[in-house]
């Protein structure tokens, strides 16, 4: 039963005190029951409606009815009560609004543990990714990127790299030749480049020293495909030529690059090797980044490094003076300049770095394989 204001039996302060107390008690009770905007409107109308709200009754039954000598005192009481009512109604409004907002939000609740709607992005190919990362390491060292044709002449692929015609070193690079070349002079005969090294010659023939270049690219050899061979693979080649480039510079540069690529805790070691276009020639080993150079994973042998703790990563060396002879006219006098070169297989590095067991996975392009590199 809603509260109604009755007419006071007199206007003595004690009587009014009692009535006011009763009114405020009712106000508080009703305000507490307001839980939404509909209820609030009823509440507000009950107390504040212009025609028959409690406040309008208060005005009529108290103020207007009060005798003249009590008017001042009653008026003050009415104003005070009015202020309390207005404030309480306003507070009830805030409460009602916030509670209806929260119940609306409650209705909009979703199961946030359901999977999201993913817009799949493409994955970088591990060989391209590895190549780009390695090239970036050398770019940071001041190396410009160069490229060259995949179909090369015998001259650039072999002769100018100090593989003379009929030299046994040519056997180490089983070459795919283009058909119908026999009529041409040997040095003009076309083949699929067996390494990215021809770009060294092409660059030195057109750009004067000093140079620093890094050469990524596809190369070809007549290797039947298997778990560790492919007739097409990828190399990253480098060349630096200047006055006073030393073997120590070669070592320092590659040591830095390997640390930048594989992590600062890898160690490097150089051992003598043979390449026709470098002398001295070396093979670079890095401490195995998979087993930390220990050769084992707990009690299991580390396969990639064959338990040696070392992995062969690349071939390198000081540019052979015979190579400079082919570009001497462009400022590459071997008595005045020196340089180093290096070359590595991007496929092999990706294979090792990502623990891929079969090289063919790189060329089958199964999306379940590729997506792992996203």
């Amino acid at each position: 039963m809603a509260y109604t204001l009755s007419k006071p039996k007199d206007f003595l302060p004690a009587t009014l005190d009692k009535a006011a107390k009763k009114l405020l008690q009712a106000l508080a009770n009703e305000a507490a029951k307001v839980s939404n905007e509909v209820e609030w409107k009823t509440f507000r109308d009950h107390w504040m409606a212009r025609k028959d709200g409690v406040l309008s009754s208060l005005n009529d039954l108290w103020l207007k009815a009060a005798p003249k000598d009590a008017k001042r005192q009653v008026g003050q009481r009415v104003n005070e009560l009015k202020a309390v009512v207005e404030q309480t109604v306003e507070q009830a409004k805030q409460r009602a609004q916030s509670s209806s907002r929260s119940s609306r939000l409650e209705g909009e609740r979703v199961d946030i543990t359901l999977p999201g709607i993913q817009r799949p992005i493409g994955a970088e190919h591990p060989i391209v990714k590895t190549t780009n990362e390695m090239v970036a390491v050398f770019r940071d060292l001041g190396y410009s990127v160069e490229e060259g044709p995949e179909i090369e002449t015998d001259y650039y692929n072999f002769e100018a790299l100090n593989f003379p015609p009929n030299h046994p070193a040519r056997d180490t690079q089983d070459t795919l030749f283009l058909a119908q070349q026999q009529a041409k002079p040997l040095r003009e005969q076309l083949l699929l480049r067996t390494h990215t090294s021809p770009v060294q010659i092409r660059t030195m023939a057109t750009k004067k020293p000093p140079i620093r270049i890094v050469i990524p690219g596809r190369v070809y050899r007549k290797d039947p495909p298997d778990a560790s061979h492919s007739p097409m693979f990828h190399q990253i080649e480098g060349l630096a030529v200047d006055t006073n480039i030393t073997f120590g510079d070669l070592k320092g540069t590659l040591d830095y690059a390997m640390k930048a690529f594989f992590g600062s805790n890898v160690k490097t070691s150089f051992r003598p090797s043979f390449f026709p276009f470098t002398e001295p020639s070396a093979e670079l080993l890095v401490s195995c980044f998979l087993c930390g150079g220990r050769g084992t994973h707990g009690s299991d042998p580390c396969r990639p490094c064959k338990q040696t703790g070392w992995i062969e990563i690349l071939g390198c060396g000081m540019v052979d003076p015979n190579v400079f002879q082919f570009v001497k006219h462009n400022g590459y006098d071997p008595e005045k300049v020196s340089g180093f070169a290096f070359g590595m297989g991007a496929d092999r590095i990706a294979l090792l770095k990502y623990g891929v067991e079969d090289l063919q996975l790189f060329f089958q392009n199964d999306v379940r394989f590729l997506r792992q590199f996203a």
């Binding site: 359901l114 999977p115 709607i117 817009r119 799949p120 992005i121 493409g122 970088e124 190919h125 060989i127 770019r139 060292l141 001041g142 410009s144 990127v145 044709p149 995949e150 179909i151 009929n166 046994p168 795919l176 030749f177 283009l178 058909a179 119908q180 070349q181 699929l192 140079i211 620093r212 596809r218 492919s230 007739p231 200047d242 006073n244 480039i245 030393t246 120590g248 510079d249 070592k251 320092g252 540069t253 040591d255 830095y256 150089f270 051992r271 003598p272 090797s273 043979f274 002398e279 001295p280 070396a282 020196s338 060329f363 089958q364 392009n365 199964d366 999306v367 379940r368 590729l370 997506r371």
Partner: protein, 682 residues
């Protein structure tokens, strides 16, 4: 190649164990890849550089060890019993004539008489077996043992089977044949260098001996041959006959000119030890020309310039002398270095510097970084490559890499460009260089579909190749492939299959990066595309891409079980256009006004006609004009379709007036009516 640790130790006293010896040999470039066995039977599996034939044997490795540990190397000298005969008697007994001095610089022979051909003694047989050499008989084994001991190939003939009792070294004559030791009857050519007797060839120089003069149990008298053959001639000959032997492997890399006598003597000594008999005194030694190596000047300054470290003069002397080099010269800053006869790989100062660096130890040189003052120069197309690659990855295409080869059939089906064929392909499937990236893309899509990957998106950036007269053209292309869903169905939304317009949108995104004055799409695509669902993108009059659904018949022959979409982008043409320059436009300050037009068109009126008709009006305030809805069937007459179009007008400097918009709308309506369109509502 397998080599015995104990055999190496025959010639040098090394205090370290075999594992350490293996490590130390490896560190100077004599790579020990594996060690098997123990003690006397320890075998090193070795990888020795093609430039070091002198080290492909036990004595050569002992020499390396002597330099590594700075200990003396024993002399290798056979001891032959003194005989009463005179040297001249041997020479006159078997005359040797070198007709081809270019091919044969030196021919040394020894003659043994009354030899018993038998099995080799156990020590010899065991050592040969340990390095995977088959024992044959004491004479042949003696040559083999000598080859693996000191690296010099030799050959033994049954002297009594030599017709005319003489040796002639000459080129073969056309039509001559020789049955070699492997039993193969070989046709010889005028380029072949042979050892011959009076009747004809009895051996292919430095490669393989003849069958008819080989040592048998019946042999009593033996002629031992040790010659110096020209590397190039041996190499060509062994390749021509497909005969790669231990002997040719060494001769084609360069043998030791000075070891013909000592190797002959060593073979003689071994045969005499096991088979008895007598040696005819003195070798028959015929020299056609000398293989002399000029001494090389070694400047200490050059050692430092190349290696970056100043080495002690004494250190250099010690290393080189242990390797057999002789150093002379009074100058403090340089040496005159005499090259030992077995080091045909050394002829220049840099070769000596390598020897010094190798034995000093590569890892001992301090690491340094060179200074460099030039800036990095990007490849001219790097920015374009990067832009396209990043966009393709963001659009959901996985980057693929496939091989550059095709079969003839595939190449011809997907391109009419002149083919580049391989002379020696691995297979017919990989016999030409690819002229198109499409077959590779289809192979990859099929590979995925066959493995249950129903949603596939791939792209590949690679070169295609075509013949252009004597030259080869290489052109960079992008291929995209897509199949399956554009939107995968999930608990949140229904799925949607990948469509032509998904692909077109992706291609548009890529093409929009480039500057152009015009871009149009027409239907001129290759036969392997669906004729109604493929298009060609033409920028400024030049085709830069074609794409669409693969022709269902092509899909069927490639065993593709579902619709497949492919795109080819010709980067060699697209890259003639620069990347679009970014010029920032101010944001519009006045509201845009949109007007919709509902039209009926005949099916023959393509959106491109409608679009062009509208834009050709040249309305300056027209900001966009695009289709909102297409409807066919129902109340729409067959052969026609209903199209809801939306034009948006906006000005940069004022609010548009109603009458202006009405006037432009009327112009658009008239233009579309001119195409045969019927306005349904506006």
């Amino acid at each position: 190649m397998k080599l015995s640790a104990q055999w190496i130790r025959d010639f040098v006293d090394v205090s370290v164990d075999d594992h350490r010896l293996a490590e130390d040999l490896t560190s100077v470039g004599m790579g020990v890849e594996g060690i098997v066995g123990q003690g006397e039977d320890t075998i090193f599996e070795m990888e020795i550089g093609t430039n070091r034939p002198d080290a492909m044997n036990h004595y050569g490795l002992a020499r390396e060890a002597s330099a590594i540990y700075d200990v003396p190397l024993r002399r290798l000298a056979a001891e032959l019993p003194a005989t009463s005969g005179k040297a001249s008697s041997a020479e006159s007994s078997v005359p040797i004539q070198i007709e081809d001095g270019e091919g044969c610089a030196r021919f040394t022979a020894r003659i043994l008489r009354d030899v018993r051909i038998t099995d080799s003694p156990p020590k010899i047989a065991r050592r040969l077996a340990a390095i995977d050499q088959r024992a044959i008989n004491n004479a042949v084994d003696a040559t083999n043992y000598t080859l693996w001991e000191m690296g010099k190939p030799t050959h033994v003939f049954d002297l009594d089977l030599l017709e005319g009792g003489k040796i002639i070294v000459r080129r073969a004559r056309e039509g001559e044949t020789l049955k070699t030791l492997d039993g193969v009857e070989r046709k010889l050519s005028g380029e072949d260098l042979v050892v011959a007797d009076a009747a004809g060839p009895i051996g292919l120089a430095g490669t393989m001996g003849g069958f008819d003069t080989m040592i048998t149990e019946k042999t009593r008298n033996v002629l031992i041959e040790s010659a110096w053959w020209d590397p190039l001639i041996v190499r060509k000959m062994s390749r021509r006959h497909g005969l790669h032997t231990d002997a040719s492997h060494r001769f084609e890399r360069g043998a030791d000119f000075e070891s013909t006598v000592s190797s002959c003597d060593r073979v003689a000594e071994l045969i005499l030890q096991s088979g008895g008999g007598t040696v005819i005194d003195g070798p028959i030694d015929v020299i056609a020309r000398r293989i002399d190596q000029a001494p090389v000047e070694l400047r200490l300054s050059e050692v430092e310039r190349i290696l970056g470290t100043r080495l002690e003069r004494m250190q250099i002397v010690r290393i080189l002398e242990r390797l057999g080099f002789e150093l002379a010269g009074a100058e403090p800053a340089a040496f005159l270095v005499h090259i030992p006869s077995w080091r045909l790989d050394v002829g220049r100062e840099i070769d000596l510097i390598e020897e010094i660096a190798r034995l000093y130890g590569y890892d001992k040189f301090p690491n340094t970084l060179p200074t460099f003052s030039r800036s990095v120069i990007e490849l001219p197309e790097a920015a374009k490559d990067r832009k396209l690659r990043n966009a393709l990855l963001a659009l959901g295409y996985n980057e693929a890499v496939s091989l550059s080869f095709l079969s003839h059939e595939e190449a011809e089906q997907f391109s009419d460009a002149p083919l580049i064929e391989l002379e020696n392909p691995l297979s017919e499937e990989a016999s030409v260089m690819r002229t198109s990236l499409v077959p590779g893309m289809l192979t990859m899509l099929a590979y995925n579909l066959n493995r249950g990957n129903d949603n596939v998106r791939l792209f590949e950036t690679a070169k295609v190749f075509q013949s252009a007269g004597p030259a080869a053209l290489e052109m960079k292309r992008i291929a995209m492939g897509a199949t399956g869903s554009a939107l995968s169905p999930s608990v949140h939304q229904p799925g949607r299959p990948f469509s032509f317009f998904d692909l077109k949108g992706d291609v548009e995104t890529l093409l929009d990066f480039f500057e152009r004055t015009s871009l149009r799409y027409d239907a001129q695509t290759a036969e392997y595309y669906h004729p109604g669902r493929s298009t060609r993108a033409v920028i400024d009059g030049e085709s830069v891409a074609q794409f669409g659904q693969l022709h269902p018949e092509t899909a069927a022959t490639r065993k593709l079980r579902q619709d497949v979409y492919i795109a080819e982008i010709y980067l060699e043409r697209l890259y003639r256009h620069g990347l679009r320059k970014i010029v920032c436009q101010p944001l519009p300050r006045y509201p845009a006004v949109e007007r919709d037009f509902s039209f009926l068109f005949r099916d023959s009126v393509a959106f491109e006609h409608i679009r062009r008709a509208c834009y050709d009006l040249g309305l300056k305030e027209l900001r966009s004009f695009f289709p909102v809805e297409i409807f066919r069937g129902g109340s729409i007459r067959p052969g026609t379709y209903s199209l809801l179009l939306r034009a948006s007008f906006q000005s940069n400097d004022r609010t548009l007036r109603e009458d202006e918009v009405a006037q432009w709308s009327a112009q658009i309506v008239r233009a579309l009516e001119a195409l045969g369109g019927t306005l349904r509502s506006q």
